[in-house]
Amino acid sequence: MTAQQRTLFGAGRRRFIPWLLLAPGVGFYLVMAVGPSIATAFYSFTDATGLRGLPINWVGFDNYNEFAFEGARSRDNLDAVQRTLLFMVLVTVLQFGVGLLMAILVNQRLKGSLVFRTLFFVPVILGAVVQGLMWKLFLRPGGGPMDTIYGWLGLESQFLAGPSAFYWVVLVQIWANAGFTMVVFLAGMQTIPAELNEAAAVDGATGWQLFKNVTWPQLTPAVNTNFLLNIIGSLQAWMLFLVLTGFTNSTKVLGYVVYAEGFGQQGTSSFRQGYAAAASIVLFLLVLVLGMAANFVVTRRERKYLG
């Protein structure tokens, strides 16, 4: 018994000190993060509002039913789900490709590669507001930079105000985050032993063969990380939509639906938090299912390349 009561940093009452000092951190974590996170499922079955003092009633699956099947709103919602998936596919594939290309180029021993690397990462630290406003200026119709370039090419577009707005947001999203993908790839490339490349070069491997047979398999962990992060990140991303296009039906993604319905922002006057909770559970399930599917693919790939 005495042995148990004696800990490294003191006996008697003092042995509770680690617990005492651990409590605030864990407490905040449970109350502010884990608890609310789990409670989202509960709220999705109620008619909770964002207004104080109104009673909260249990409504069963009404919110989900309304979200998917009732009226014009549900059609908008399903469009939003579709758009979210399209956004995920485009961003994941393109950002992966651009990031990889950047990493390969910057990883060569070229003069100034550090400058390029620094530059490509800059948007990551700037945040959605600065990223968005910068591109709003760049894509300004009526004589903005991109409009001028379009003019030279004899093209015309309304950019963020037109039907192609969604694709411009995809572009900005990739621009903003490709630097991150690049850095993850670079970290992976630095772990590839130099001897491997050398041996392959001695055997007469050229650029493409070297990449296909040495770099790519060796890069497996970074490839998988980027693949997973891009999928999950792009499913949840919607801040740039908020800054670039605001609340319009033609660019609405699922994350934005949650925010707009739950907090009565532009375009809707409701504070329907039960409904919004249901929408966020739908988004969560989407992330879970696709994340797990991606994880399955990734694990198989790892087994194939790394044994």
Binding site: F9, I17, Y29, I125, L137, G142, V184, A277
Partner: protein, 311 residues
Amino acid sequence: MSVLTHSEPEVVVHDDFGAGKRRARRKIVSYSILVAFAIFYVGPLLMLVMASLKTLPEFFRDPTGLPEGLEVNNFTEAWDLANFPQYLFNSLIYTVVATTLFVVMSVFVAFPIARGYVKGAGPLLTLYVVALFLPPALIPQFQLILNFGDIPVIGDVLFSFWPEGSEQQGLFNTRTGYILLFLTNPIGLIILVNYIKSIPRELDESAAVDGCGYARFVFTILMPLIRPALATVIVIHAIGIWNELILATIYLTSEDNYPITRGLLVFEGVYGSDWPKLAAAVLMLMFPMLVLYMFLQRYIISGLTSGAIKG
């Protein structure tokens, strides 16, 4: 690496003319792609700088060309109009207070978990890992903050210090409430736990034998030793708070409480067509981050990506 550098000229000598040519061609291709990307990255920034140096009529006449003169007034006017000093102050308060509290609390969670000094350390760590896959907490969190006054004891005590009636909105639209939102970060905690595991346990033992108390050990011995991990975690957390927009739009309704991100969006709503001023405002928001980035680049890049790479 150096081996590779040395062997390079040799290869050129041994090889026929084709390899050298191929290398030169590849260099040209690489540079052209890099420069094309660079234009894409510098372009928007350059346009922002140019717009900020034009007068409004000049901007409407020629939005893309070089500015005729240097119109510095945009900066001073934007600074005054946008209530910038207030926003900047708020952003600083939120970032510094929340990051400090978070880091100190997290070290006291991470240390006993890493060492197994508390029972259930393993499950506790799992709880942090699992959180990365839980649904978003947005809505219940809002309810919690809004109804904070109804919480027995804690709510009563807290609001007894504040003016009468303030419990009506709970911690909604208060600085305290906003800071509470940023006191957790599972990835940060996991990074700390992993790093502390690499610090030899004998250190704790000899310190304890010498009669060093638990809290003193953590503050004076452990913290300096885990400085790289602390820097990483501070960077992740601080940049997240500084750039936060969604929570700022949800929770803060009075302009006095706006952080700079939200303030900038409001400014855009009012002066959206006055691009020179807006551009000046955006540049002023960017500036502190860019300077920090230049100086702490290594920490910032490793900080923002370490969760991804280690995880």
